[in-house]
């Protein structure tokens, strides 16, 4: 009720005022109080008051004709009751085009203008309400993005620290393993030397070498199995030392061991030579535990050498594993560091964009923007062209985070390479109710490669910059990771 009274009062006041002076706002009323004469607002001239709004321009500043089109630099105030008031150039008064929603600019023209202010106002109010909601939502989203950003940042930092710690540990381990490998290698070398020295003693009797060799290896193997050195191999000794070639870890069963011992519980050297030795040397069923292969050459026969060799191999393998782990961790660290070096905004609110990709189809081209990584263009014909790699933020000093630049895209035929700038689009953001909306403006040189000729020769003299304005990308913060909304 009170609102209505105020409106009515205001309407009446406006009516009284505008009866004489068309086209001014209430703040200018004081210049137009009805007197005998009117002083141009710039003070340049005094004219009779009847000459205000008489459709003839007297004042250089146009102040005598706020309500007509007479003055070249005049402006007309649309009161637009119910909607937003605003100024229009007075050249739009009575030009046959409705500019003010209250139709006040076309008071003497053939244009049939409707007063649409109330409708517009209502729409605007609804819109503003929506905007406020959106803005709130947006701010909330932004806060959320910031929080998430901070969390993500911290998480990444922690991850980095962890990785660094792991790297340190690995470094120590690496040293250790290197030492151990070195030691094992040395031991192996020594054993080998010693063995070679011993070997040289038997060499002159090379004619009986085969037999002796066999003999020595049979007894050697027998001794290896005969752990208690009682001259016979027992069931337990077999179970302890013999395994399946294909499954070293499984302990043999009672029956299997019995079979190997030829059904008895004991086996002496001569029986061993004729039965079990054969089985073990064939190497296709059973073998001595931890032996790499069936007993063979001189070196591998030697238990010391074999042990040393095995040890050296283990150490080498271990070292390699540790080295690989170290490398991986270091790579992860440098990746992470690179990512963390990127400026994600003062509150890390843009961090969530990293790792996302957004696609947009414009006519025959598919554009892909992976923030902080790449921009590319793919034609329906299928060729993909890089329009740039992440470069930097390039907004103006006041608003640095309003624009991204991607550089060093695919080179052009007359030199230079494609670059793309991606701008935050505040308007589109508001309009779409998104928290952030980006539009890309790709400035790239035009190159077309054609068979046999290099058209760059013709183009070489001038630089051709083509701007391609793409519709806005809308990146919603709420659906991190999955959202690829495209407006």
């Amino acid at each position: 009720m009170r609102f209505h009274i105020i409106t009515a009062a205001f309407l009446w006041a406006a009516f009284v005022e505008s009866r004489k002076i068309r086209g001014i706002s209430s703040s200018y009323k004081r210049f137009y109080r009805e007197r005998k004469s009117f002083l141009c607002i710039d003070g340049s001239k005094i004219i009779p008051f009847e000459q205000v709004n008489d459709d003839y321009c007297d004042c250089a500043d146009g102040s005598d004709e706020p309500g007509t089109s007479a003055c070249p630099r005049g402006r007309f105030y649309c009161t637009n009751l119910g909607f937003r008031p605003h100024y229009i150039p007075s050249s739009r008064v009575n030009d046959g085009i409705c500019d003010c929603c209250d139709a006040s600019d076309e008071y003497n023209s053939h244009a049939r203008c409707q007063n649409t202010c109330w409708n517009l106002g209502q729409k605007e109010r609804a819109y503003v309400e929506g905007q406020m909601k959106t803005l709130d939502e947006g701010l909330r989203l932004k806060q959320q993005l910031i929080e998430e950003g901070v969390l993500l940042w911290r998480e990444k930092q922690a991850q980095l620290r962890e990785l660094q710690r792991a790297a340190e540990d690995l470094q120590i381990k690496l040293e250790e393993h290197r030492k151990r490998k070195h030691e094992a290698d040395r031991l192996k070398e020594q054993t080998l030397k010693a063995l070679k020295a011993g070997d040289r003693d038997v060499r002159p009797e090379s004619s009986s070498c085969g037999f002796r060799h066999q003999n020595s290896t049979v007894s050697h193997l027998f001794q290896l199995l005969d752990s208690n050195k009682d001259g016979s191999i027992s069931l337990d000794e077999v179970k302890a030392k013999v395994v399946l070639v294909h499954d070293e870890t499984r302990v043999l069963s009672e029956d299997e061991a019995l079979t190997l011992l030829g059904g008895g519980h004991q086996m002496d050297l001569s029986k061993f030579q004729n039965t079990l030795w054969d089985v073990l040397t064939r190497g296709d069923g059973y073998k001595i535990k931890d032996a790499h292969s069936a007993p063979g050459g001189l070196m591998s026969e030697d238990p010391h050498l074999k042990a040393a060799d095995r040890a050296a191999e283990w150490e080498a393998a271990d070292l390699k594993k540790v080295e690989e782990a170290y490398e991986t961790v270091n790579m992860e660290i440098s990746d992470l560091q690179k990512k963390l070096e990127i400026d994600y905004g003062t509150d890390w609110e843009y961090l969530f964009l990293n790792g996302q990709c957004y696609k947009l189809k414009v006519y025959e081209y598919m554009y892909t923007l992976c923030p902080f990584n790449t921009v590319s263009q793919k034609s329906t014909a299928g060729t993909e062209v890089s329009l740039g790699l992440w470069g930097m933020w390039a907004g103006p000093a006041k608003n640095r985070y309003s624009q991204m630049v991607y550089e060093n895209g695919e080179p052009c035929w007359q030199g230079g390479s494609r670059t793309t700038s991606v701008s935050k689009d505040q308007h589109a953001a508001l309009a779409s109710g998104r928290t952030q909306t980006w539009s890309t403006q790709s400035n790239f040189m035009c190159c077309v490669t054609s068979a046999n000729v290099n058209p760059c020769d013709i183009w070489g003299r001038a630089s051709f910059t083509r701007s391609l304005v793409l519709p806005a990308y809308s990146l919603t913060g709420t659906q991190i990771g999955s959202d690829k909304t495209i407006k």
Binding site: D55, S91, I97, C446, D457, R461, A462, T465
Partner: protein, 930 residues
């Protein structure tokens, strides 16, 4: 838009063309275009030396009727006979026609260029003997003397020879003949044997040697099969007392034509020349075979009506002389009078030449207008500013550029769409994505009282899914190749056919395609632009059509220079038809011929963003204006390359004072809408576009005058000051009508210009400062970036509309300010023309034409067309009198009575401003200063 860009899209497809384009040079590759030496007929004809002509007039064959004289000529070398026809036409024009007496087959006579069969006047025989005949040319003391041996024509007035034909013996007429060499087909041999008509010729021919290029000619990779053999015609004209000749556009050259002794002749052959060079006689997009000659006593014109490839040689006996040499001749009363000799050479057709004998420049304009018609009276809006670019990308782009004009408060009337708006370069269609709802877009413009132009080129994509192509093919409307199939060439769409616009049925069909129900998505505020209508054929010889292509029974060779005119005509007729004959069309063309003025506007093609190109826009449009084509403009800013901000601003300042005012830019140049160069430059451009709009009433009136009389809108100074030799070669300044003198600034960094203010008794008022200057002097005028020197002639009254709005249509009902510039006798005169601005109703006298005059302190307005009917809401809001003295009282008298008017007098500039007289622009009134 020339060939080379084609590369970008079609490059891989057309390597041959690539080779042509790959000159590596930024400027035109001259090697792509023929010199006279490379054009066999030009080489043959030019090899003829002046001397005794082999032609003899057979006086005994003379027949004189009331309207014409006929006479046979014989070539004593080969005994071939020609028929000379001589007509006296109304309005001091003499027509000379020469054809073979009995050609093997008909030779092409250009149709559709003359607006009617020109009415004749009686010729009378004055005397005759065995040496010749003297005929009287009507009432004046003009006579034509026909000399028999050698044949020669002299046109004489009193004791002065005005013009002589074949005085140097360079008449050449290659008669049609049978092919003699072994390649001739047997049928032709038979025909020859059975053809009793020309026994003399056939006998004689054997003595004539067959030269290279007579029956076949190869240029670069293209061979012209020349089925008719040699068929060139040529004739020389001597102009005693003449040192200045003009016209024969289109060339990128000075207004005053140069002598051609040391180089190639001026060439007239409509060609799509990629990045044309300036100051040379190479052919460009259009041809008007009309030359004007001028000296202080007389102006004349030669109209060589031939549409085939044509070369024009100019020589002068004073060309090499210094000023001192000329002085010496004068002092010593020496030797010869100055003389200019001209020779026209055409590849085929006949000699049909109109000698327009003046004597004043205006007489020549009206004589030419009586033959080919006058400038089409354009819709008023088309005199506003046009915003073009290759290309406005999509509807959103159009919307945002349109909004940009409102935001920066700059008026404009037309926004243009180049080839990219189509669906794959299929004209009459819209790109389904970028221009998905053209009507919506057009309605958006209509709501702001603005308009659009979309391009329609004459090359038609060969695509069986394209309606236009299918219809043209099924109706057999395409130009045919020499073997009878549809001619195909490469252009923007790839393989394209070229409709045969020389056919009336084809043109009627084409026109019908502009109907709103045919051309989908169009409405009344969409107009048309014809580009590439030379025609441009990317893979054709010299980027155009093969000369042996066939237009029904005629070779392309015969009709080449007419093709563009026909395209323009059919399109303009389409726009007229779609409105039921009510609305005036607006069609811009790149190619043109004599008569093209009847169909719309012309622009100077693909220029470049260089100062020289800005400078050349003046003589190029002046030359076109002299030969009837008033609606001329150059791409503001330059098409190729990117202008510096200074150049762009200067170009706007020049273009605002040239008839067709359109900014245009190449696809690969950065955007250059007026507001993209900082607020200061936006303000400069806004200011000069607004100046243009304030002068629209004057422009409109000038175009009405051009439509009525053929007088050029933009004219060289000598047209108004024909006796002042200082004006004869001026082409860095020009007049608009009689009353505005414009001297553009075309030098980079200029601090001032020297303008010649003509007329010893004239005064000129600077339109910006109202400063008064005396005529008959060179005046140094300091300039800043804010404007270029423009003067209003003392003695003139120019109505202007100072309330500049969004578009010209928005200004329809606005009041006028009359600028009355007093001359030394304190008098002035002017006119005001008003109609609805867009229909043909002015033909039904729905118009208002008033005359203002100021004398003895009284300014009055009287009706020039009392029978006409039109009312306007516009009134007179202000009268500004320049060069006035202070009155004590100013009184307005109308039919309603008398009242006193307020006024303001600026004593320092002697400017009297009369406040708000308020009478309707259509009323009779007087304003008296006391």
């Amino acid at each position: 838009m020339c060939c080379w860009f084609f590369l970008r899209r079609m490059g891989p497809v057309l390597l041959l063309w690539v080779a042509v384009c790959l000159s590596g040079s930024w400027a035109v590759d001259k090697g792509n275009f023929k010199t006279c030496d490379q054009s066999a007929f030009c080489k043959r004809q030019r090899a003829m030396k002046p001397g005794e002509s082999p032609y003899r007039a057979l006086l005994e064959t003379m027949e004189l009727t009331n309207t014409r004289l006929t006479l046979q000529l014989i070539n004593d070398n080969n005994k071939v006979r020609l028929l000379l026809e001589l007509y006296r036409l109304q309005g001091n024009i003499t027509r000379v026609k020469i054809n073979e007496l009995k050609p093997l087959k008909p030779r092409y006579e250009v149709p559709d260029v003359l607006i009617r069969e020109p009415p004749t006047e009686p010729l009378s025989l004055l005397s005759q003997d065995e040496n010749g005949v003297v005929l009287s040319l009507g009432a004046e003391s003009q006579r034509v003397i026909v000399s028999a041996r050698p044949f020669r024509l002299d046109i004489v007035e009193g004791r002065d020879v005005l013009m002589s034909l074949n005085s140097r013996g360079l008449l050449g007429f290659e008669h049609l003949r049978m092919r003699k060499d072994t390649q001739a087909d047997p049928e032709a041999e038979n025909k020859e044997g059975t053809d009793p008509a020309n026994p003399a010729e056939t006998a004689k021919e054997e003595e004539e040697k067959v030269e290279d290029g007579m029956w076949e000619e190869t240029f670069k990779t293209h061979t012209d099969s020349k089925p008719s053999g040699p068929s060139a015609v040529s004739l020389d004209f001597s102009l005693p007392g003449v040192e200045h000749v003009y016209g024969i556009p289109e060339h990128g050259d000075s207004l005053k034509l140069k002598t051609t002794d040391s180089g190639d002749p001026y060439r007239l052959y409509n060609l799509d020349v990629f990045q044309y060079e300036l100051y040379n006689p190479m052919a460009l997009y259009g041809s008007v075979p009309v030359m004007l000659s001028h000296n202080a006593r007389r102006t004349m014109g030669i109209f060589w009506l031939n549409a085939a490839e044509t070369w024009v040689d100019i020589s002068s006996n004073t060309a090499g002389k210094t000023v001192f040499g000329k002085m010496l001749d004068y002092v010593q009363g020496s030797s010869e009078t100055p003389q200019t000799d001209v020779r026209w050479i055409s590849e085929s057709g006949i000699i049909d030449v109109f000698l327009m004998l003046g004597p004043t420049p205006r007489d020549v304009f009206s004589q030419y207008a009586s033959l080919t018609g006058t400038q089409a009276f354009p819709p008023l809006a088309s005199l506003g500013y046009h915003q073009c670019r290759w290309n406005y990308n999509d509807q959103e782009d159009v919307r945002s550029v349109d909004a940009g004009f409102d935001e920066h408060d700059i008026p404009y009337d037309f926004i243009w769409l180049d080839i990219e708006h189509t669906d794959g370069k299929r004209y009459f269609t819209w790109d389904p994505h970028k221009f998905a709802s053209p009507k919506e877009m057009l309605q958006g413009l209509q709501d702001k009282k603005r308009k659009m132009v979309a391009i329609v080129d004459p090359h038609i994509k060969v695509d069986t899914n394209y309606k236009i192509h299918n219809e043209i093919r099924s109706r057999g409307f395409y130009v045919k190749n020499k073997d009878g199939g549809d001619y195909e060439g490469w252009c923007w769409p790839g393989s394209a056919g070229y409709p045969d616009f020389t056919r009336p049925d084809m043109r009627a069909w084409w026109a019908s395609q502009f109907a709103y129900d045919q051309y989908e998505g169009t409405m009344e505020n969409l107009y048309t632009w014809n580009d590439m209508n030379e025609p441009s054929v990317f893979n054709g010889p010299e980027v155009t059509m093969h000369k042996d292509a066939m237009h029904e029974s005629w070779e392309h060779r015969d009709v080449h220079n007419l093709y563009g005119l026909y395209v323009h005509r059919a399109t303009a007729e389409g726009l007229i038809e779609r409105s039921g004959g009510v609305e005036r069309p607006f069609v811009l063309t790149r190619a043109f011929f004599a008569g093209s003025q009847r169909y719309g506007a012309v622009w100077t093609g693909d220029n470049a963003a260089e100062w020289d190109h800005l400078k050349i826009s003046i003589p190029m449009c002046l030359s076109l204006g002299l030969v009837g084509i008033s609606f001329c403009g150059a791409d503001v800013g330059g098409f190729f390359k990117s202008p510096s901000t200074e150049l762009l601003v200067r170009w706007y300042q020049t273009g605002a004072y040239q008839p067709f005012f359109r900014a245009h830019a190449h696809l690969d140049t950065p955007r250059r809408e007026p507001w993209l160069f900082g607020p200061e430059n936006t303000a400069l451009i806004r200011e000069v576009i607004r100046q243009r709009y304030t002068f629209l009433p004057y422009w409109y009136q000038l175009f009405y005058l051009a439509y009525q009389t053929g007088e050029p809108v933009m004219r060289p100074l000598w047209v108004e000051y024909p006796q002042d030799p200082a004006t004869f070669a001026l082409d860095d300044e020009f007049l608009l009508g009689r009353d505005l003198l414009v001297h553009p600034v075309t030098e980079e960094g200029a601090r001032g210009v020297t303008a010649y203010l003509p007329g010893k008794h004239e005064v000129w008022f600077d339109i910006h400062t109202f400063q008064k200057h005396n005529g008959g002097q060179n005046l140094y005028i300091p300039v800043t970036m804010s404007s270029i020197p423009v003067f209003q002639r003392g003695g003139s009254i120019i109505p202007r509309k100072l309330r500049v709005r969004r578009s010209s249509t928005c200004m329809e009902h606005d009041p006028y300010t009359l600028y009355v510039a007093l001359d030394n006798r304190r008098t002035a005169e002017g006119e005001l023309y008003i109609d609805d601005g867009h229909t043909f109703n002015y033909e039904k006298k729905e118009l208002m034409h008033r005359k203002f005059s100021f004398a003895n302190g009284v300014l009055s307005s009287v009706d020039l067309e009392p029978n006409a009917q039109f009312t306007t809401k516009s009134w007179v809001e202000r009268i500004i009198i320049l060069g006035a003295s202070k009155p004590s009282m100013v009184t307005l008298k109308t039919a309603d009575g008398e009242n006193q008017l307020e006024f303001d007098f600026d004593a320092s500039m002697s400017v009297l401003t009369i406040r708000k007289p308020g009478m309707n622009a259509g009323a009779d009134w007087t304003v008296t200063l006391q």
